[in-house]
C-alpha cells in the first residue's frame, strides 16, 4: 500500500468513527425515503436514475466536506510533514471513496424500488451518472472545506449556493457553464440521455475538473 493510500485509509477510519459520517447518511436516507415512497413504474428507470444522481449532489458534497474537515488542522499538518503535496490526494481519494459508498446506497435503494427490470445499458448508465454526481460532489465539497473556507457559516452557504447555481444555470440551458444536473434529468425524461451520454459526460466533468484544480492551487497557500 502506498503512503497516500495509507493516509486515505486513516482518514476514512477517522471519518467512519466520528459523528460527522452520520449527518449526510441520515440526510441521504431521508431523501431516499421521499424519492422512493412509491415504486418506480416500468419504463421510468433511466429518468429515476437521473433524478437520483442530480439530487444526491448536495448530499455528496456535504459528505466530502465532512470527511475533509473531520481531521483537526494540526493533524493535517502532521500528514503534510509525512507526505508533502500527496497529502491532498490522500484526502480526495478518501472523500471519493466515502461518496462511492453513499452513491451505492442511493443506487441500491433505487434498484429495489423498480417495478420493471432495467436493461444492462440503463443500469450502467445509472452507475455512470452516479459517478458523475460523486465527482461534482467531491469538487464542491473540497472547495467548501475548512482550509479554503474556514468559517462554517460561509462554507455551508457556499455549498448550498454552489448547488443552486448548478440547478439554475443548467435549467437555463447553459450546459457548458456548470455541471448540467438539470440536463441529466431533462434528457433522461425525454429519452435522449443514452445517445448523448459522451457529450454530457464531458460537460459534467469539466467544472469538477476545474474545481479540483482550483482546490489544488488554493491549498498551496492554505495548508
Amino acid at each position: 500500500m502506498t503512503a497516500m493510500m495509507a493516509l486515505a485509509r486513516f482518514r476514512l477510519a477517522g471519518y467512519a468513527a466520528s459523528h460527522r459520517a452520520l449527518q449526510p447518511l441520515i440526510a441521504l436516507l431521508a431523501l431516499l425515503a421521499v424519492l422512493y415512497a412509491g415504486s418506480i413504474p416500468a419504463g421510468q428507470e433511466i429518468a429515476a436514475t437521473a433524478d437520483s444522481a442530480a439530487m444526491l449532489v448536495p448530499v455528496l458534497a456535504w459528505a466530502a466536506r465532512g470527511l475533509l474537515d473531520t481531521e483537526p488542522d494540526e493533524q493535517r499538518s502532521v500528514a503534510i510533514s509525512a507526505l508533502g503535496p500527496k497529502e491532498l490526494a490522500g484526502g480526495l481519494v478518501a472523500a471519493f471513496a466515502s461518496l462511492l459508498v453513499l452513491a451505492a446506497i442511493g443506487e441500491g435503494a433505487l434498484l429495489l424500488r423498480l417495478a420493471g427490470s432495467p436493461t444492462l445499458t440503463v443500469l450502467l448508465a445509472g452507475v455512470w451518472l452516479h459517478l458523475l454526481s460523486a465527482t461534482a460532489g467531491l469538487a464542491l465539497g473540497a472547495l467548501t472545506s475548512r482550509p479554503i473556507l474556514p468559517s462554517p457559516a460561509v462554507s455551508t452557504i457556499a455549498l448550498i449556493l454552489g448547488y443552486l447555481s448548478m440547478l439554475v444555470l443548467s435549467m437555463a440551458g447553459a450546459r457548458w457553464l456548470t455541471v448540467p444536473v438539470m440536463g441529466w434529468m431533462r434528457d433522461a425524461h425525454h429519452g435522449v440521455l443514452l445517445s448523448g451520454l459522451p457529450l454530457i459526460t464531458v460537460q459534467s466533468l469539466l467544472w469538477p475538473a476545474i474545481g479540483l484544480a482550483a482546490y489544488t492551487w488554493l491549498r498551496r497557500t492554505r495548508p
Binding site: 503512503a3 477510519a13 477517522g14 481531521e71 494540526e74 493533524q75 508533502g84
Partner: protein, 253 residues
C-alpha cells in the same frame, strides 16, 4: 547535506502583516538549532516554514531532507483512535514497520498509554504521542515546537539524548524551547526571531554559564510606555528585571 533558508519572507495573507522578512539560515547535517524569541513573534511560523507546512511568500527553503518529522506544540488529541491505532496508521503513512512504535513508546515512557484513546490523554501524554509520530521514520529533519512542554522528568532527560542521536547520524533538528532544556546541548546553535528578523545568537558557553558569574545591578531609565518592552527583552537575554515606579527625570538628565 546542507539545507538553506534563503531571503525568506512570510505573511499569512495579502493584507496581513509580515511575520518574517528576508530571513536566512544555513543548516548543515547534524545541526541542532534552538529557535527563541518572545511569544507571538513567529517562532511557530518559522518552524512550519522549515518543515514545509507553509509555503514562503518570498524566498525559498532549499534542499530540505526527504523525511521530515514534525511534532506540533499542541498534539491534536481530538481524534477517534487509541494511541496504538493512531501510531499504526502513522507508521503505515510513513511506510515504516510497526516495530518502531514499540521502540519509541518505550523510550518516551508511553508503553502504558498504547491502549488509551487519544481524547482521554493528559496534555503531557498527548504530547508524547506527537513526539512519537515525528520520530517513527528516522527523520532527516526533525522540527519540534516546544517539545519539552508538559513532559515528565524522565522524558525531559531522554529527549536531548534522542536529539543527539539524530544529530549524530546527520539529521537536522530545529526546535523552539521556552523551558531551556536544550540550552546546554553540546554544539547547539541558537536563533532568535524578533521584529520579523531571524538572527543567529552566540552559542551559550556552558562553563561560563555554569560558573554563575557575579551579578551586577544596572539602573536604566526609560520612557514608561517602553518599560515593559525593554524588560521583556532583557528577560529574554537572561537578566532579572524589576520595574520600579520611580519616575525620576533627573536620572535621565
Amino acid at each position: 547535506m546542507t539545507m538553506r533558508i534563503a531571503s525568506l519572507s512570510f505573511r499569512y495573507g495579502r493584507r496581513a502583516p509580515w511575520i518574517l522578512s528576508d530571513a536566512g539560515l544555513v543548516l548543515d547535517a547534524g545541526d541542532v538549532v534552538e529557535v527563541t524569541g518572545p511569544n507571538g513573534t513567529g517562532k511557530s511560523t518559522l518552524l512550519r516554514l522549515v518543515a514545509g507546512l507553509l509555503r514562503p511568500t518570498r524566498g525559498s527553503v532549499e534542499d530540505r531532507p526527504r523525511i521530515v518529522g514534525y511534532a506540533p506544540e499542541r498534539f491534536p488529541s481530538d481524534q477517534p483512535f487509541t494511541v496504538a491505532a493512531y501510531l499504526r496508521h502513522m507508521a503505515a503513512v510513513r511506510r515504516v514497520s510497526t516495530e518502531s512504535i514499540g521502540r519509541w513508546s518505550e523510550r518516551l515512557g508511553m508503553d502504558h498509554l498504547l491502549g488509551q484513546r487519544l481524547p482521554d490523554l493528559s496534555k503531557g501524554s498527548a504530547h508524547k504521542v506527537g513526539l512519537a509520530q515525528a520520530l517513527l521514520a528516522e527523520p532527516g529533519l526533525l522540527v519540534l515546537d516546544e517539545p519539552f512542554a508538559g513532559l515528565d522528568a524522565a522524558t525531559r532527560a531522554e529527549l536531548p539524548r534522542i536529539i543527539g542521536e539524530i544529530s549524530a547520524r546527520g539529521g537536522i533538528v530545529v526546535a523552539s524551547d521556552h523551558q531551556g532544556d536544550l540550552r546546554y546541548f553540546p554544539g547547539l546553535r541558537r536563533c532568535e526571531v524578533r521584529d520579523r528578523a531571524l538572527r543567529e545568537l552566540d552559542p551559550v558557553d556552558p562553563i561560563e554559564d555554569a560558573a554563575e558569574p557575579a551579578l551586577t545591578v544596572l539602573e536604566v531609565a526609560v520612557a514608561a510606555s517602553k518599560a515593559q518592552d525593554l524588560a521583556d527583552r532583557l528577560r529574554a537575554e537572561g537578566c532579572t528585571v524589576n520595574i520600579t515606579a520611580r519616575a525620576t527625570r533627573e536620572v535621565a538628565g
